[in-house]
Symmetry: C2
Subunit: 340 residues, 2 copies
């Protein structure tokens, strides 16, 4: 490349070269009205020829908005969160907004984020991805004075896009019930960072059992942190139960896969000896022949992105909160109980 100079050409230069005033040059480039077509063409051509690009800082400073959106994301390395972000990114980029990423891995990160609010003055909106915002945090967030949207999470306080956890769990447990299972366990997952929050997927479990006239056996419900290893451990506990379950509903696919490993190691075949169902339809669920309830995180991201664009455009969103449907995906890990 010959143009070693990192192109330090400004609007003034372009204007001069095109033989117009800066005002006109600016209007031409931002395709505003009141510019003669010929003039605009000339300016555009000169700009093109000189690889001119507006200085975002100057532009933003002058017009007052930032053209950026912050994404606050807890566990980026997990499929669900990554997918939501992918979806968000695609629509925001389409609208020429830049995406500022704030990964808040653990409580510490999170506290720091809400304490310092590094996004302050840097964005036009904030998207909270896949976690519940606590009250104190909410108060802090509000001081930003920007739009806030929740994607893939059930934060009631903001416009949001999410699945109905209660229905999803119900779909999973109903499936086990219809197969004829009576002793159905639940592997609950709690967020170690927010241990006080109730499991959002237990109500559906209760609903399904109640509807089937099956009494809840509290000893069949085990709680553990979110994660495969924890799921495996929980399953171990259940195997020690005097009257073990024939069906297991896991909070998520990852937890379910942990349970599957425990079963295999115990010489039990998932689907044949014990049925297991999860939630998510993680790509690896298909590879593990795991029955699950599918949610589409990328789609949730897309919808949340659109919602945000509407808010930024001043259009009140048609619905403050969108629920994305989930669907049961039957695979090999579930079957009628051995002794019905």
């Amino acid at each position: 490349m010959e143009d070693a100079t990192p192109t330090k050409v400004t609007l003034v230069d372009i204007a001069r070269m095109a033989g117009v005033g800066v005002g006109t040059a600016s209007r031409a480039l931002s395709n505003a009205k009141n510019v003669a077509p010929a003039t605009r063409a000339r300016v555009l051509q000169v700009a093109e020829a000189n690889h001119y690009v507006v200085s975002p800082e100057a532009s933003r400073l002058a017009k007052g908005n930032t053209g950026r959106v912050a994404l606050v994301v807890p566990h980026l390395s997990r499929w669900f969160f990554g997918s939501v972000v992918e979806g968000l990114d695609s629509v925001l980029r389409g609208a020429d907004l830049d995406v500022l990423l704030y990964h808040v891995g653990d409580v510490r990160d999170r506290h720091e984020f809400f304490e310092r609010l590094p996004a302050r003055r840097k964005v036009d909106a904030v998207v909270v991805v896949g976690f519940q915002v606590e009250d104190i945090e909410r108060a802090r967030l509000e001081t930003l004075g920007v739009h806030i949207v929740a994607a893939g999470g059930q934060t009631a306080a903001y416009p949001s896009v999410h699945i109905d956890d209660r229905i999803a769990s119900r779909q999973a447990v109903d499936h086990l019930v219809h197969l004829g299972h009576k002793r159905i366990a639940m592997l609950e997952a709690v967020d170690p960072d927010q241990p006080h929050l109730p499991s959002t997927r237990s109500p559906g479990y209760h609903d399904a059992l109640a509807a089937a006239g099956i009494a809840i056996d509290p000893t069949l419900v085990v709680s553990a942190p979110w994660g495969g290893e924890d799921g495996a451990a929980s399953m171990s506990r259940l195997l020690g139960h005097p009257d073990p379950p024939t069906g297991v509903f896991a909070h998520s696919d990852e937890v379910a896969l942990g349970a599957v490993r425990t079963l295999r190691r115990a010489g039990l075949e998932p689907g044949r000896d014990v049925s297991v169902v999860g939630i998510d339809d993680h790509p690896l669920a298909a590879l593990s022949d795991l029955t699950t309830v599918r949610q589409r995180p990328a789609e949730q991201g897309v919808l949340a992105g659109r919602l945000l664009l509407d808010l930024l455009d001043g259009k009140a969103p048609t619905e403050a909160s969108t629920t994305v449907p989930t669907e049961l995906v039957v695979r090999g890990s579930t079957a009628p109980p051995r002794r019905p």
Copy 2:
């Protein structure tokens, strides 16, 4: 919150309220030297009381840098990429840099990114995460005139952090060799978006077989796109082989898990009937009892982040390219062949 006004207080206001000039106020806030301690304290206190925050746009405009870094990432929803980004994010945030995310899912996105270069003028550096930059793209990237770093990929043109694919594959195949396997297949993965690129993990396979004095059987090498379903399909093909392999080396854990599913469906038990080894140590590998070669993407992200900070500080990095070691993790999916 009473302060409903989104705090439109500027440096000038602060200066006036503190009874100092704007210059002094600026110096005090940016803790530069040549400010009397008392004066600084006063300014800081006034700023604090009024929830003053500098306008990044104005600040950047005046000082000329952006304080931002762009991350160009192909498949955010995959564990590897998400993890690298997590690592990067943590160190960049620590240095008070903002992270701009550019997700380039497919060829189209990618072309568009390099064509439009939306990051132009918006960042001080670019990190390319986990993919190879082609020559034309490189030329485009260079026109940005900013630092470029590769994380988790083997782009030789830039300072980078990555594993040694050749060694990693060698570790995997050596393991199979040591167990006594003679017929060892390879499930190659090609990036559908860059089908012309040679597999980076084949050389190690060849090395290992050569070292063991095993002749390469080209019919035992199958190529397919990256992904579990493709791995499953490739494994199916191998099962139809007249003299099928007893050991399988898969390009990645995801591909390996696909192979495992095929084996199970064929009534074969991984580890007992056929050995399978992958690369990555994906969290779900442990849940599937998959033997693998571990790489630590988050660590790669962290190191790449540090590398970048050094570059931005003007310190020439001690080493332009860092290789992160990998290690064999033996689990249940590998064992000596049935008939040795």
